[in-house]
Amino acid sequence: PALGLFLFTIARDPLRIIILIAGAFFWLVSLLLSSLIWFIAVKASDPRDEQLQKGLLIFGVMFSVLLQEAFRFLYYKLLRKAIEGLVALSEDGCSPISIQQMAYVAGVGFGLMSGAFSMINLLADALGPGTVGIHGDSQLYFLTSAFMTMVLIFLHTFWGILFFHGCEHRCWWEITAVVVMHLAVSGSTFCNPLYVGSLVPSYLLMAAAATWAYLLSGGSAQNLRRFLLCKS
């Protein structure tokens, strides 16, 4: 689905592609830094202590979430400056791309990158021979991973919109809400392999974020109805 989003909405306009790749890049950098921190922490600690390792992992995840949000903020700043530049350059005084579109594209960029990193090795292994869950792990590993990744990509997209909107209008609570949601989703994955605990809340949160973002972008129930009934 995320790929479909990409193809239909982003691939047409070169500016959006650039913003997308830059967004992916920012996510990558945040991942790099967070894994650096985690790596140092692991090396500095005792590798045999299971609990400690688990604790460190949790700490790593939380830290990574915070870093991702920080980078999203940095990216927002960068895009603000870019908009100013674009406006200055364009002849009729308005930028060829709006901040909301940028927010959307940035969110997709983040999401795609995070999804790709989460899924791609899995996919590559899935092509080869093997049995899922042979060591007593869940047999639904691939399926749940796929769903989780999809929900995460969508969430990133919506968070992008919400986040940028919050920054634009200086609604700090929106921003904190996004951060808290992200933390919550990541935290819920700790319940894996008890999938009920992680997938369901994630989907609920995604639905909530989706409606919120939709409303923020100017949609309404009427628009939705008109769209579904094909502009009748």
């Binding site: 070169p14 500016l15 592609i17 650039i18 991942l31 790596f39 990574s64 895009l79 350059l89 090795n121």
Partner: protein, 458 residues
């Protein structure tokens, strides 16, 4: 490797504009293959659009100021009108370069992953005589550094040789050399590649069919590259050639040497293009002085060149005229590397977006694209291919390198718009790529693996 964009010389001052804006394509640096001289990626001088073409990029606040630098007075009127189009074109050009680079990398990665031939160690090039099978780390490092020095010096010698030939107008020699190398590339390497692919998929093919296929492929390739042909076909051939070259490099360069060579080549590129006495820069300038297009077979051009004659008042809103450049004219450009295929800029293309015509001065179509040297393609693909071949983190690392290279390309094009002259395309991208490769492989991979095993998501 330089990137450059053709500026639309439409603006008024035909002479000055034309000569100063003409982008010289720098011939690719010679690359070597066993016994054959392949020139390496030529740097393409960056021709920037007159306007702050790439002002699409984010940090383009300077663009506003930039557009005034060095622009003829007459232009200012046109400038404003064209800002917006330029902006759009700017982003478009980046994408026009993204696509072929991406395609090339995809081909290389796909081949590496599926055909095992290219990851077997069956020997080394004669240009990298020191083996890396030594027991100690220090010895290995030393060997790789020595290999690099030899390789770089060979490249430098070839480049200087080519520049000298160009300066003294030994066009025939250069031309012949390029033809020979592209011939070898098209036929021999394609044959090997096809053979390996067929082996991998266990498909049988008889010799006559094989001969027919390769003959057609090679003949059309030669025509397309050195003479005229549809733009897309040319671009496709260029991409394929770059991919083949990159595969050869990946196969025959030992591990550490490859990384050190990548690093050294970007430094060399930086120096060769920016230093006043650098060979590539001299090449670019000489080509510019002589008003000649750069070597056909060394540069990838993303768009066709439209040029308009001097005083063509009737160029209508279209304002495009195609100019055919023949190979003879291009004589000056030599392929330094067989791998560089210069897209003949003489292709003409029909649909052209209308530009606001300001007056009846001849307007040149701004559809000139950005030009990127083939060596750039090759080295980007070598980086990504090596990442795919040797990284234990597999796809994550490859993906990270890919994104890093694209971002580097973006930044380079941005700088191109700022500086408006030929720029090396390698350093930024390769630096990013190397940094990301090593960091992803060593830092991110354990993190992601642990996360994945617990199925945690960040």
């Amino acid at each position: 490797m330089i990137t450059f964009m053709n500026n639309s010389d439409s603006e008024e001052e035909p002479c000055n504009e034309r000569t100063s804006l003409m982008s010289a394509e720098s011939p690719p640096v010679p690359s070597y293959q066993d016994g054959l001289q392949a020139s390496e990626a030529g740097e393409v001088p960056a021709h920037r659009k007159r306007r702050t073409g790439s002002s699409y990029s984010p940090n383009n606040i300077a663009d506003g100021e930039m557009s005034d630098s060095g622009v003829p007075v007459r232009e200012s009127a046109l400038e404003n009108e064209e800002e917006e189009l330029t902006l759009k074109y700017g982003a478009k050009h980046v994408i026009m370069l993204f696509v072929p680079v991406t395609l090339c990398m995809i081909v290389v990665v796909a081949t590496i992953k599926s055909v095992s031939f290219y990851t077997e160690k069956n020997g080394q090039l004669i240009y990298t005589p020191f083996s890396e099978d030594t027991p100690s780390v220090g010895q290995r490092l030393l060997n790789s550094v020595l290999n690099t020095i030899i390789m770089i010096s060979v490249i430098v010698v070839m480049t200087v040789f080519l520049v000298l030939l160009y300066k003294y107008r030994c066009y025939k020699f250069i031309h012949g050399w390029l033809i020979l190398s592209s011939l070898m590339l098209l036929f021999l390497f394609t044959y090997i590649y096809l053979g390996e692919v067929l082996k991998t998929y266990n498909v049988a093919m008889d010799y006559p069919t094989l001969f027919l296929i390769i003959w057609n492929f090679g003949a059309v390739g030669m025509i397309c590259i050195h003479w005229k042909g549809p733009l897309q076909l040319q671009q496709a051939y260029l991409i394929m050639i770059s991919a083949l070259m990159a595969l050869v490099f990946i196969k025959y360069l030992p591990e550490w040497s490859a990384w050190v060579i990548l690093g050294a080549i970007s430094i060399y590129d930086l120096m060769a293009v920016l230093c006043p006495k650098g060979p590539l820069r001299m090449l670019v300038e000489t080509a510019q002085e002589r008003n000649e297009p750069i070597f056909p077979a060394l540069i990838y051009s993303s768009a066709m060149m439209w040029t308009v004659g001097m005083a063509k008042p009737d160029t209508a809103a279209r304002g495009l005229r195609q100019q055919t450049r023949d190979a003879a004219e291009d004589g000056g450009e030599n392929h330094r590397s067989p791998s560089h295929i210069d897209s003949q800029m003489s292709e003409t293309r029909s649909p052209v977006p209308t530009r606001p015509i300001t007056s009846l001065e001849e307007l040149e179509e701004e559809e000139r694209g950005v030009k990127l040297g083939l060596g750039d393609f090759i080295f980007y693909s070598v980086l990504v291919g090596k990442a795919a071949a040797t990284a234990s983190g597999d796809w994550n690392t490859t993906l990270a390198c890919f994104v890093a290279i694209l971002i580097g390309l973006c930044l380079t094009l941005l700088l191109l718009a700022v500086f408006k002259k030929a720029l090396p395309a390698l350093p930024i991208s390769i630096t990013f790529g190397l940094v990301f490769y090593f960091s992803t492989d060593n830092l991110v991979r354990p993190f992601m693996d642990t996360l994945a095993s617990h199925q945690l998501y960040i």
